[in-house]
Amino acid sequence: MKDISRLALVLTLITAGSALLLAMVEKVTREPIAQQRRLVTLGALKAVLPPANNSPDQDTVSLVTGKDSKGNDEQTTFYRGRKDGAVSGVAFRVVAPDGYSGSIAVMVGIEPNGQVSGVAILQHAETPGLGALIEGESWKNQFKGKSLDNADWRVKKDGGHFDQITAATISPRAVVGAIRKGLEFYKANKDQIIGG
């Protein structure tokens, strides 16, 4: 009995000590981590939105964009960039579920008239040197200025307007399809997104 209480006491002391240490470290790093997260979002927003002089990550509206596998509503946050008060562009995250390995998260920026102002790849697990080339600047830049009206949103191999990548068609096809869905949602809900 005495032995067991000694074991418990030592383990309690060790866990208490480590809890104390972690609490201190968490306190110190809480601010920088939140700051880094915000910088990542801001960086992606800045890359895809037309010039703005507000803080797009503070000027948001959330809409229900679909249902997840359990039938619950899925929300998407729309970030609005403003130039001198007027909305100059909207950015939001679209997810391509059909990448070569897992889903690809893309940040799309759209001008009020429905043209794409920029695209950033937020997250992917595509093959390095092949599918991962979707992160290349020249590949992402081909979307600039394109809208549902002036482009066929498929890769060239499928008869559309957008370049695939040699030997890797699946990743570009997934990204192009996801952006098209995003544009369609924007077109259908433009008033709510910009006005709300």
């Binding site: 070569y100 092949l130 191999k157 499928d158 030997a167 890797a168 068609t169």
Partner: protein
């Protein structure tokens, strides 16, 4: 399979067979196909690719054995044959360094690290091809059309895969081209261009008793039966069995790669299981896998199953009684 093997007591007469002789037979059997491919892809480029593959294999074998202080075995022709088979699995317009590197990878990673001829668990030529396919997917899937020499990334198998993925159906133009598949009218591995030259070479090997009929027949037969079942269920989505047999590397694989002595089972029953496994896996990878072609992967997978197949199909010793209890 119920043949009885009679062994008299020694001395035995050596029939004079050596590794070098068998390799020479395999090379003879490949000659008509090699000649046809070199001719149909414009002579110079495919000859260079083949020469570099052979040089890569033989040079790395000699260099490795020299460094390790082993007897140099490039005279037995097995390295040269690995080089030829590797070349037949590559685009004829491959860059020079890719052919060399493929030869080195085949011999070093596929054979010498395991201890040389006789110890390698996997077919070296296929290891070379797989290393190249994963490393250089762009170059390894840029094929040449025979005769016209047009550069294309499309093979009949990849066309079917893309079309089925997009629309769920096989386009009519691919169906219409089926006739030319038989005589090598499509882009693709050098080794697929003419099924008939390969069948002829394979028959020569069986006639010369370098290989037995078991693996080719069960490989091709199981691929035929499985693809025929899918085709019968839905012929607009799944290509016909004839298409499967004469596209990709199936004939080359069935006669020349899946019959490698070292990496395949030694019992007749084991050979039948091995061939059937290859055929079934090939069709499954082609129809449902990520890659349009599955011959190389299925043979390598079955290579890894060879020891257990051998153990399970080992014939009983004559007169052996299983002990009870």
């Amino acid at each position: 399979m119920d043949k009885t093997l009679y062994i008299s007591s020694s001395p035995h007469v050596h029939e004079g067979g050596t590794t070098a002789k068998a390799m020479r037979d395999v090379i003879y059997a490949l000659l008509p196909c090699v000649a046809l491919w070199i001719y149909s892809f414009g002579i110079i480029k495919p000859s260079v690719v083949m020469a570099l593959c052979i040089i890569g294999c033989m040079a790395s074998e000699a260099a490795w054995e020299k460094v390790r202080g082993l007897p140099i075995t490039i005279g037995d022709g097995s390295a040269a044959m690995t080089g030829i088979l590797l070349a037949l699995n590559m685009p004829p317009n491959s860059p020079w360094w890719m052919a060399l590197l493929g030869g080195v990878a085949a011999i070093v990673i596929g054979k010498q690290v395991f201890g040389g001829l006789g110890y390698n668990p996997f077919n070296p030529a296929l290891i070379g091809r797989t290393v190249l396919l994963i490393s250089f997917p762009v170059q390894m899937t840029t094929w040449m059309m025979p005769r016209t020499h047009e550069i294309t990334s499309a093979t009949p198998l990849s066309d079917v895969k893309i079309a089925v993925g997009l629309t769920g159906n096989i386009p009519d133009e691919i169906k219409a081209q089926l006739g030319s598949v038989l005589f090598g009218g499509f882009g693709g591995q050098l080794g697929v261009v003419s099924g008939f030259a390969l069948i002829a070479g394979g028959c020569y090997l069986i006639y010369r008793k370098v290989i037995t009929w078991h693996i080719p027949v069960s490989f091709i037969g199981s691929a035929f039966v499985l693809s025929a079942i899918f085709w019968a269920v839905n012929s607009s989505k799944y290509p016909s069995p004839v298409f499967h047999l004469f596209t990709g590397g199936l004939m080359l694989g069935a006669f020349f790669m899946a019959t490698d002595w070292v990496t395949t089972p030694i019992t007749p029953k084991g050979m039948l299981i091995f061939g059937a496994g290859c055929g079934i896996l090939t069709i499954l990878i082609r129809l449902f896998g990520g890659y349009p072609e599955g011959v190389a992967f299925s043979i390598l997978l079955m290579n890894s199953a060879t020891p257990i197949i051998d153990r399970l199909t080992m014939p009983k010793k004559f007169g052996l009684v299983t002990q009870k209890g």
